[in-house]
Amino acid sequence: MHRLSIRVLVVLTVLAGTIYLGWRWGFSVAWDNWWIAVPLVLAETFFLIDAYLFGLAMWRIKQRGPAPAPPSGATVDVFITSYNEPVWMVSATARAAVKIRYPHRTWILDDGERPQLRQAAQSLGVGYLTRDSDWADRPRHAKAGNLNNALFFTEGEYMLILDADQIPHPSILDKTLGWFTDPQVGMVQTPQWFVNVTESDPLGSQAPLFYGPIQQGKDGWNAAFFCGSNTVLRREALMQLGVVGYVREVESAVRQALRLGSRMLTRTATEAKDQGPEVVAALTSVRRAAHDAMRQLDAGHPVGDVTYAFQQQVDAASRQIVDRDVVAMRADLAELAALAVGTDEEMGGVIIDDVAIGHLAQRDLSPLGALESVRALVRAIDVDRTEEAQPMMPLATMSVTEDLATSMSMHAMGWKSVYHHEILAHGVAPEDLGTMLQQRLRWAQGALQVLLRENPLTNRGLSVGQRLMYFATMWSYLAGFAALALFAAPVVFLCTGILPVRSFDLMFLLAFVPYFLLTQALFCYVGYGVTSWRGHQYGLALFPIWIRACVNGVANVYFHRPLGFAATPKTRQPGGGIPWRLIWPQVTVSVVLVMAVVIGLTRLYTGQADDALATWVNVLWVTYDLLVLSVIYRAALFQAPETTKELTR
């Protein structure tokens, strides 16, 4: 595959797309019918931007050969992460991991803390790690937490991360470690490939376009990202993220606490006079201390010194007040601090709840109550980060897709990543629709969380190319809304004759068909003919999942609603028959589409509709929609072959 021919195809595609969309916006939108015309043209614009981003990735597609020879004497830990997978499955992976040729230590990271798995690890002679007691009653952060815990019990320079079902090839380290001879490389990702998938792959598990041209294209921009498994990471890169993240969290939490503290103290200043000169003095000195602390932080004084000095001053001030008063007010305080400084149950991470802070600041605290609250607050979010199990969280905990978030931070710190296009581990894909949908929902929600929390477009550490490559992944998850317009427009026309475009005439076809065909050709060509159609189908057919992910993502990031994290089960979930509950939106849309065709054709034959060309274009359009949606029925009817267990055992 020549880079030049890809580039020619990319240019032709986006050129055709730009001409088409330019014409659409300028001359073809039926503004009178704006309620359907505008959604449609916006949807088309969405897809054109998607094409631009895809073209940009393909522009720099990087097909690396083999890695340089691996460094000799490097220390490597192999981490097998498990939560609830069967013991036989984890053991099989561990057995294969032991056989990896490059010298290493193998560890099972068991978040399920199962005695049988501990025993299995012992008999295989591999390490076994569970969370230590610091994690009790603190946010666990799912897989990211599991890995973060293990990082502090091991000391290898590199680590290979494997999901419980990913059987590694003995050469996996020999073939990837060599990339780290470039001291700036922080991560090497290899493909995920599944053994339990039939040729037709109705669940769309294999992602040949993603673990292929897309990652290679991102790699060209130094933006190949971490996909959670079959990945080698450099400890130094992760630890650096941990230190930087720690500093960021501590500084912002301490500032917020001081700000809130000052507000509370100011409110009670007048009231303090009634309580005697000692109280006034204590309050004044703490207010001054909080003020000084803020000023010192602004002036660049280290947070550690500032908080230490502040604590000392508050302690000194409190000593001026008799114990009797202090005891009386304490009861109130635990509650107060808990109110404002909560932890996000699912993601963890301190949430200093703005609403709660508002309440707290307005509440009629006694001056002493205010004083003690400030102390409790600052204590709660001191430099030791007591709200977390460990002060450093090298793997990102701000998203349920910790992999995507972590590699973005890594790139922003200046590290390089490598996509090594060679299958070096074999795993097990979900075998039923429900599990698959759950997995896609998690990916989409995770990507949207990252977009909303740390928008890559405004991340100053990233190059422009990297920003766009990360953004591309998140952008594609907005397809659900565009899909709705693609379904709605032909239905509206066939049933009512209302057109979203000025007309479906020859001019329309001349503008649209080349763009459409070139897009298909580009996908076909870069995908080496791989079935990118399946991916295209799912991009649209899973519209309910994508829309739900957007809604949940916004609710989570802006309104602190939990997402409900679920690890993807690696084994077949019980239950038979067609899961109507999961696919009712697609069924509804399909029924509406078919009815629309019947109505449209009836209207044409009875003379109610006069534009035959438009009717046929719309019937064709509906056929396309139905073909796209058909994938969900195949998936719902799909029964995975029973041989899976044998294959992976």
Binding site: E155, R235, Q240, V243, P302, G304
Partner: protein, 110 residues
């Protein structure tokens, strides 16, 4: 890496000589834990003879800061040579931990 502990007044001075890297970090952590358990929650980590520190080494300092603060004490660093200062700046850890010139300087207000 060599670790040496001296008690000066109410402070414990831990001197690290050599490389404070991913191999040495657990040792430093263990020593801080032990020192705090022995009743010395005010610790100065003397880096004068530290030839190299990586992010895992910084992680051990952060871990130590947590342990000492929770015991009502503090952890401070002193004598950081140029390489260490550079790493502190690169990771912004100098925003949290101030590098004192000498252990005596670090313990002045204790």
């Amino acid at each position: 890496m060599e670790l040496e502990k001296t008690i000066v007044g109410n402070a414990a001075i831990l001197s690290c000589s050599g490389r404070l890297n991913m191999v040495a970090a657990p040792k430093l952590r263990a020593m801080v834990d032990q020192t705090v358990a022995d009743g010395h929650a005010r610790i100065v980590v003397d880096l004068t003879d530290t030839s190299f520190v990586d992010s895992s080494g910084l992680g051990a300092l952060i871990g130590g800061l947590k342990v000492t603060r929770q015991a009502g004490g503090d952890l401070r660093i002193a004598g950081a040579p140029e390489q260490v200062t550079t790493v502190l700046q690169l990771t912004n850890l100098d925003r949290v931990l101030k590098s004192h010139s000498t252990p005596a300087d670090a313990t002045r207000d204790w």
